[in-house]
Amino acid sequence: MGVSLSKKAESARPARATINYKAWLFDRGGDILLLILIAFMLLPILFLILGSFKSRDEFAAASSFFPSEWKFSNYSEMWTRVKFGTYFSNSLIICGITTLVVTILASMSGYALARFRFPGSGGFSMAILGTQLVPGTLFLIPLYMTFLWLKNNLGIPLIGTNFGAIVLYVGFFLPISLWIQRSFFATIPIDLEEQAMVDGATRFQAFLYIIMPLAGPGVISTAIFVFLTAWDELLFAWILNVQTIPVGIRQFTGVAGSQNRYELLSAASVVIILPVAAMFFLLQKRFIAGLTAGAVK
């Protein structure tokens, strides 16, 4: 079902009766190609990490691969040179709350779509998929105007605030998350709920106590997906003037500060990757199982 990352899975190759010289050569060629591709995937990240320890001059000179002198102070200076702490905590708050709200709402709606064929479910599905085909540049202006209107007329502070970003991202990522959740619920046998309902549980209780615990991998993959995507959102945050990391990180090199501190930018980039990487590798197996379950039935 899912992709196993460590366990010795069965090989997809046919058993070879005789050791075939050509097949052996083909295999070694594959090893070399794999090594090259892994190098291609890893070197950029390694390059970033090494660069984050260089001094300003050494980075600008771009003379060597390894830093001649390891400058660990970059990692403390990056917090003071720009308001990185503010951006970081803003991003954490926005992405954390967005992930929580989206995961709960997507679980409910995904369940409804997977289990009920209600009047309007077809149209609802079409609307969900339709939202994915509309470019952000089309509804960015109206969204900005709507938020501005709400701010001026109802006093809801939606522009330049974390609250506004959370409202935006919940609406933004809900449709696709719901779709991931739906395909995951569809893989859970319906008998379990029927059994629980025969035993006297209501439909809602069956959903909450029987289905949700089984949907763990699906919930986790949705949550990580939402967090990763929200962590990465630049255009809307920039237009709505929300001080998240993608917006703030330009300060290291931006025209306004004219700082050109690329080694600090590298250090900040490493720090940005860390929370996501930690979450991802802790939950990797379940995440991948959840993502692929819906696709490979």
Partner: protein, 325 residues
């Protein structure tokens, strides 16, 4: 199946009441979609028919109605007719449109092709397989704006990692200019492929792993060679997954690339130069820096139209494998 809906026997009202829990469950989603998607999209479509610019922005939906003026402006320029064909906003857009097409095609070929090769290489039995699979996933945790930053360093003409490797291996004699000129679009393609590969690889790997081994064994007994087994067993069975990946690739190709481009091409001005400018960055610039809000909306609709044509082709191509799923 006690829970299965009984169709047609009940009236609409009874069916709605019977499914009341479903409506309660989707109600918050519908509100969120109305506020963030549906209402703004309808407004955006209407906006593309209005002359909204800096001076008329406060009028917003009451701005002067110009009908299809902006659409005609863009279409005339594409087909080389009309006076407005040379206005800089339109030529910039047409440039970006052709770049977007090339970008979409190459990112798809790169991600799907290399992703499939990687998946097959990782599906073999070897020591370190677990580690290799984890390492291949790494670019996935790198946000796209950081990807742009990294590749900004990698493509540097003097001392960038790419030129350093190419010169070191004697593949080229003189450093290549990556970030300016015709190479810049491919610099963007490679960065995008790098970030997109892990997801595609893991999906292909999942699909390959569920193919029953006895299919390959039977084919071998019948004398099929490696290529024939790949062509007639692996490829048809991963087609449904490939279909989803192509759809994601099309959407990302047309609408994505913004974060990487903004960070990769010089410090956040967002302009990648005429060779690598894509439609979303171009439209964003026209809209927010030149305050051409109505024009930007019309251009967005045209961009959506371009994508929908490709989605239509996609649907015709993969219709059968989508049903089989």
């Amino acid at each position: 199946m006690a829970l299965a809906p009984k169709k047609n026997k009940l009236s609409l009202w009874q069916r709605i009441r019977q499914n009341s829990l479903a409506y309660k469950f989707i109600a918050p989603t519908i509100v969120a979609m109305l506020v963030v998607h549906l209402i703004p999209i309808v407004q955006g479509l209407y906006l593309s028919l209005l002359d909204v610019r800096l001076t008329t922005l406060t009028l917003y939906l009451k701005a002067p109605f110009v009908g299809l003026k902006y659409y005609i402006e863009v279409f005339n320029a594409i087909f080389g007719i009309g006076e407005d064909g040379t206005s800089s906003r339109v030529t910039g857009l047409i440039n970006a449109a052709s770049n977007t097409l090339v970008y979409t095609i190459w990112t798809n070929i790169g991600t799907l092709g290399v992703g499939l090769i990687l998946a097959m290489l990782l599906n073999r039995n070897f020591r370190w397989r677990g580690i290799a699979r984890t390492l291949v996933l790494l670019p996935w945790v790198v946000p796209t704006f950081v990807t742009g930053t990294i590749f900004n360093f990698i493509w540097l003409e003097q001392g960038g990692l790419a030129n350093r490797i190419l010169l070191g291996l004697n593949i080229v004699d003189t450093p290549i200019t990556w970030l300016i000129g015709p190479n810049s679009l491919y610099a963007l393609v490679i960065a995008t492929v790098w970030r997109g590969l892990p997801f595609t690889t893991i999906m292909f790997l999942a699909a390959i792993q569920v193919i029953p081994t006895d299919l390959y064994e039977a084919a071998s007994l019948d004398g099929a060679n490696g290529w024939q087994r790949f062509r007639h067993i692996t490829l048809p069975l991963i087609k449904p997954i490939a279909a989803t990946q192509v759809l994601f690739g099309l959407i990302n190709g047309f609408y994505g690339g913004y974060n990487i481009a903004v960070q990769m091409f010089g410090g956040g001005t967002g302009f990648a130069g005429e060779y690598a400018d894509l439609l979303v960055p171009a439209i964003t610039r026209q809209t927010w820096e030149r305050h051409l809000y109505g024009f930007g909306s019309a251009a967005s609709v045209i961009l959506m139209g371009m994508l929908l044509i490709f989605v239509g082709i996609w649907y015709r191509t993969f219709r059968d494998s989508l049903r089989a799923e």
